[in-house]
């Protein structure tokens, strides 16, 4: 997610130039369509490889193909939480308004990917294990991660003052980020101790090169999508929070 940062986008020339909402707003507007386009191209390419090029799995047949969505979504769900906590922490440490807005903008996308990972996991479980839900360590951690996202969004939604929402959300995101590894390892341990014949998601022992390519392409597609979605959302947040300022009035004037 760090490629969505104003810093890298500004080419390392002036790190703080784009940290003000006013200068970041047009930049986000320029970048978002590009990332959306990249995402679209990569999604088409990745799905093509996934459905038509990658070979059928010897054990699972065609149903394994859901990993082309499931695995990238699961990766993104965790990565976005980290990115969110990073921006929240930056906002708390340097008191920059844009950082808090970035964290808020990332949360729904992260929750969406978590939900997709859970849903595709269930869809995959039905043909493979014969049941929609197994208390697999990863699925369980993913479920708890979804709750953490919900908590973050609910807390921010309950606060009328955006400044308080940013800061309180930041504290919660940081607490969550410390807890994620603890949750993950305790769940993993719990899982191995409770299940004699543990079912694992590592069901494809050797992965064909084309499978791997397809998955990597899909991962990048998800990155590009997440960046585009976050940039668009942050633009809306900027407009809403800065609606009293002159530049927003000017901007809205030109949009008519």
């Amino acid at each position: 997610m760090s490629s969505a940062t104003p810093q890298t986008a500004s080419g390392g020339i002036n790190w703080f130039k784009y940290s003000s909402p006013q200068t970041f707003f047009p930049l986000a507007g320029t970048l978002a369509p590009w990332f959306a386009a990249i995402a679209a191209v990569l999604f088409v390419a990745g799905l093509y490889i996934g459905f038509f090029v990658a070979p059928t799995d010897a054990q699972q047949g065609e149903s394994y193909r859901i990993i082309f969505i499931h695995v990238p979504a699961a990766w993104m769900s965790m990565l976005i939480y980290l990115a969110m906590a990073f921006w929240a922490g930056m906002g708390l440490a340097f008191n920059t308004r844009l950082s808090g807005m970035m964290a808020t903008a990332l949360a729904p996308t992260g929750a969406l990917f978590t939900f997709i990972a859970l849903w595709t996991g269930a869809l995959w479980g039905k043909p493979t294990w014969g049941t929609w839900w197994v208390w697999d360590a990863r699925l369980t951690s993913e479920l708890l991660l979804l709750f953490l996202y919900f908590g973050f969004m609910a807390l921010q939604a309950a606060m009328d003052d955006p400044r308080r929402a940013d800061k309180a959300g930041a504290v919660l995101a940081l607490v969550g980020v410390i807890n994620i590894p603890i949750i993950y390892f305790s769940v993993k341990w719990w899982n191995t101790l409770h299940q004699g014949a543990s079912v694992s998601l590592k069901s494809a022992p050797t992965m064909a090169a084309t499978m791997f390519t397809g998955m990597i392409v899909m991962v990048f597609a998800c990155w590009a999508y997440a960046i585009a979605a976050a940039l668009w959302r942050v633009r809306c947040i900027i407009l809403e929070r800065e609606r009293r300022s002159e530049w927003v009035a000017d901007y809205l004037e030109t949009q008519k």
Binding site: D160, D161, R163, R244
Partner: protein, 212 residues
């Protein structure tokens, strides 16, 4: 001692006050005036470090209060709208706790004396729940009698809900404190006899600072 530079505060869409600046020295008495909703309480909360300003800075002995924190709070007393009394504790228990938190532990005898001086002799051991509004306010104000070593009192509407005798006693406390070199910032709606001692006045409706 207290220096305020270009303080600006907004509540949601509305700017309460803009660019408030003043300096308060030893024995200074600052009256913050303004109509309801003009931001008097917000200003006092920012001054004591509870609230955050949208712009500007508050300095204590030359240092921003957010970097000296406990050192500033040890020298200051803030009495807000809320009396900061626990209903289930007696007036004397409340008073002792408040003094401990402020870093100036008081003895039982001192606390009793401070309450007696405010006319609370008979009810200093009752749970605060049983007291009237005026008695609760006096229990809260009794803290001031034990806070004379502090250098700054910030008082939000100290005279509200008080009877004539209590007002007189509070004024006596403030005057003695000012004579001892302390500084006071307060808001009030009443016309108090203390007016004679006011050295500065801020009117938040006009956002002006005037020396008196």
């Amino acid at each position: 001692m207290l220096e305020v530079i270009n303080l600006t505060s907004a509540r949601g869409e509305r700017t309460l006050f803009r660019n408030v600046s003043f300096k308060l020295d030893a024995s200074g008495l600052l009256h913050v005036a303004g109509t309801n909703g003009s931001g008097k309480t917000s200003l006092l909360r920012i001054l004591c470090g509870l609230g955050a300003a949208d712009a500007g800075e508050v300095r204590w002995r030359g240092e921003p209060i957010h970097s000296v924190r406990e050192a500033y709070w040890r020298e200051g007393v803030y009495l807000g709208h809320a009396n900061a009394l626990k209903d289930d504790l007696s007036a004397i228990e409340n008073l002792l706790m408040a003094c401990t938190l402020a870093g100036r532990p008081a003895s039982d005898g001192d606390a009793r004396e401070a309450l007696h001086a405010f006319g609370l002799a008979a009810c200093s051991h009752l749970p605060v729940r049983a007291l009237s509004q005026g008695q609760k306010r006096r229990s809260a104000l009794a803290r001031l009698a034990l806070s004379t070593q502090a250098r700054l009192w910030i008082l939000d509407e100290p005279f509200s809900a008080l009877d004539v005798a209590a007002v007189a006693h509070l004024e006596k406390l403030i005057v003695a404190y000012l004579d001892g070199g302390g500084s006071v910032i307060f808001t009030t709606h009443q016309d108090a006899a203390i007016s004679a001692r006011i050295t500065q006045r801020i009117d938040l409706d006009k956002a002006s600072v005037a020396a008196c």
